[in-house]
């Protein structure tokens, strides 16, 4: 009894320490973002502050190209998500339902691509994109992001479609539905959790990418947020207030995404039974 009790508390203690490591930087980010510049470097650096202002955020939106970066990031991320969802769904379906030559190699190859760090692909891509004129374009960066997120998504969707019983699809066929109609009306709803995870994964990957955007987008007007944020670090000054304010804003969509869609992610594992 007491032993069990002790174990329980030990576990909570570990969790608490872990949570501290995860949450404190987030907290510090938020606090710094909301502290006026004049107070930022004046000791004492209190852990809990009481005076807040939106000065950093106001400056971020008016005096920097933050909104341009944000717009670029959104366009690239959405493009990546749309292509990923469509391609991985169709590929996953094909892999799970058809037998064809080289299927095993294909599936293995999707995982091999993970052995290469993005930077290794970014430099050849820079050369290729320069040659075909895709540098500094949304399409080019979207393609680059798709190239690293799609393989895993194909894998995820393949696994998902394997779990959806064939009889579900066959029931639709015997009901008169064509293969495409059965895919859309019967299979996709069953695979929705998989599709949502694929979307989240590709969004997060594109939203957070630094390497590709840094190398492929040389024009500041085409910078995405992670690269744009780096411009706040200048040789003579590091604008901590601006960096933290933009970090705060950048992290919001990710929080929102996980918060609103985790219901689907959790629900997903029981559907299709």
């Amino acid at each position: 009894m007491t032993r069990e009790f002790a174990w329980r508390w030990m576990r909570f203690l570990w969790l608490a320490v872990g949570m501290l490591f995860v949450c404190f930087p987030l907290y510090w980010m938020a606090v710094t973002a909301l502290t006026p510049r004049t107070e930022l470097f004046r000791p004492p650096y209190d852990v809990i502050r009481f005076s807040y202002s939106l000065e950093n955020i106001r400056e971020l939106l008016s005096a920097t190209q933050f909104l341009t970066f944000m717009g670029n990031s959104l366009i690239v991320a959405l493009g990546t998500v749309v292509i990923n969802v469509m391609a991985s769904t169709l590929a996953g379906y094909a892999l799970s339902r058809f037998e064809f030559r080289g299927k095993k190699t294909f599936v293995a190859a999707t995982l091999w691509t993970y052995m290469f760090p993005p930077i290794l692909l970014a430099i050849p891509l820079y050369l290729v994109f320069s040659y075909i004129g895709l540098r500094n374009s949304y399409g080019g960066l979207i393609l680059a992001h798709v190239s690293i997120s799609l393989p895993l998504n194909v894998w995820i969707m393949w696994q998902y479609f394997q779990v959806v019983p064939r009889s579900l699809e066959e029931a639709a066929w015997t009901s008169g539905a064509s293969r495409l109609r059965a895919l859309i009306e019967v299979l996709l709803p069953s695979a929705l959790p998989g599709i949502i995870s694929a979307a989240i994964f590709s969004f997060a990957l594109s939203w957070n990418d630094f390497a590709f955007a840094f190398i492929l987008q040389t024009d500041i007007a085409m910078f995405t947020l992670p690269v744009g944020l780096a411009t706040f670090v200048e040789q003579s000054a590091i604008h901590w207030g601006l960096i933290m304010a933009s970090s705060l804003i950048v992290s919001l969509p990710t929080f929102a995404l996980v918060f609103f869609l985790q219901r689907y992610l959790m629900h997903g594992f029981s559907i299709g039974k």
Binding site: E170, A171, A172, G176, S190, I271
Partner: protein, 374 residues
């Protein structure tokens, strides 16, 4: 009258590890309109593959499938106009019961008001009217299977295919649903093709059954005929619970008065049996547990010791052992006074036994009904 469903030399081969295996081997049979036709057999006998070929979910390697004299061998599943119920029920989990049942009509492009009407009618037939707004997961296994049947019959298909529809249900529900499906068959005007591994389902529900073995139909007959006059030893032992006793017996006795001997048993046969036994030194004799009777000593064929009795309620299943240790099963109303270890005198019902070829297992003679010509 035209044949509702005709299989014409249908063969299905698979290639596995470079070897070609026939899952269904040159199967030909006719199913009449309105029949309740059952394919029964152990797993891997080709029964499900046959059904899937009828549904168009599996291609045919060679041979033809005809619906109403129309060749549908190369017609897609969608255009065959069948209804099908699957072993794992396969309801669309994200649709309400109403939408599940109405799905085939929606696909067919029927107006909403008409769909609603037909769904109501199907739900009424299956007594699930109060479940229509629910989701499949909110229903019990039996109710889910009713919904699946509703979805299959809502378009009023001429042919309704059922692939082991009751195997996912527990024993009591299975019995209930059996009756339910039979009642449904009486009410709807459809030819039913049913697949099961459960011989009780096959025997109780069907107009005719095909006993499948290794891709072939060992026997196609009415359940009664399959039980009384099995064409092969394998059919005889597959059908009936507990299984038929089968013994290796030596053919002895005088001409015209054969006697079978073996396993500590002696059974004198009649003149009618003589012709069938002609030329055999050994045969296999099959006697159903219910065709063995406990009799007074002077009427007995042999005696055996009662080893174990399992009360079935109305009757008992008795395990007996003959003088040389052969196990015999007997089912009947046995006096309560008989305890394990008692010595019993046993007679074979002369109207109910089979004699099989010792090598091929083909039936040579049935005591009960003469073997009809193949």
């Amino acid at each position: 009258m035209s044949v509702a469903l005709k299989l014409d030399n249908v063969t299905k081969t698979f290639t596995q590890n470079g070897k070609t295996i026939a899952a269904v081997d040159d199967l030909s049979l006719d199913i009449q309109p309105g029949e309740f036709f059952t394919f029964v057999g152990a797993s891997g006998c080709g029964k499900t593959t046959t059904l899937r070929m009828i549904a168009g979910l599996e291609t045919v390697s060679s041979g033809k499938i005809l619906f109403d004299d129309q060749d549908v061998t190369n017609v897609t599943t969608q255009k065959r106009g069948i209804g099908m119920v699957f072993q794992d029920i396969a309801l669309f989990p994200f649709m309400s019961i109403r939408d599940n049942i109405g799905y085939p009509l929606k696909v067919a492009g029927m107006p909403k008001s008409q769909i609603a009407q037909k769904v109501e009618a199907a739900a009424d037939l299956l007594s699930i009217t109060d479940k229509l707004s629910m989701r499949p997961t909110q229903l019990s296994g039996g109710q889910q299977q009713r919904v699946a049947i509703g979805r299959a019959i809502v378009k009023e298909p001429k042919i309704l295919l059922l692939d082991e529809p009751l195997s996912a249900l527990d024993a009591r529900l299975r019995t209930e649903m059996r009756t339910e499906i039979l009642r449904l068959h009486r009410r709807i005007n459809a030819t039913i093709v049913y697949v099961t591994h459960d011989q009780v389902e096959a025997m109780t529900m069907s107009s005719r059954v095909a006993i499948m073995e290794a891709g072939r139909a060992a026997q196609v007959d009415t359940p009664r005929q399959v039980f009384r006059a099995p064409r092969y030893e394998s059919v005889a032992t597959f059908i009936g619970t507990p299984a038929m006793n089968v013994w290796d017996m030596q053919v002895t006795g005088k001409a015209g008065q054969p006697v079978l001997q073996g396993g500590g048993m002696t059974v004198a046969l009649t003149r009618e049996d003589a012709a069938a036994l002609d030329g055999f030194r050994w045969v296999r004799m099959g006697v159903r547990p219910a065709a063995l009777k406990i009799v007074p000593q002077d009427e007995a064929d042999f005696s055996a010791v009662l080893h174990l009795r399992e009360p079935l309620g109305f009757e008992d299943e008795c395990h007996l052992e003959t003088a040389d240790g052969t196990d015999i099963k007997l089912v009947g109303r046995v006096p309560d006074t008989l305890v394990e270890g008692a010595s019993l005198h046993i007679a074979v019902d002369r109207a109910d036994y089979c004699i099989f070829h010792p090598d091929t297992g083909k039936a040579l003679r049935h005591g009960l009904a003469p073997l009809t010509a193949a």
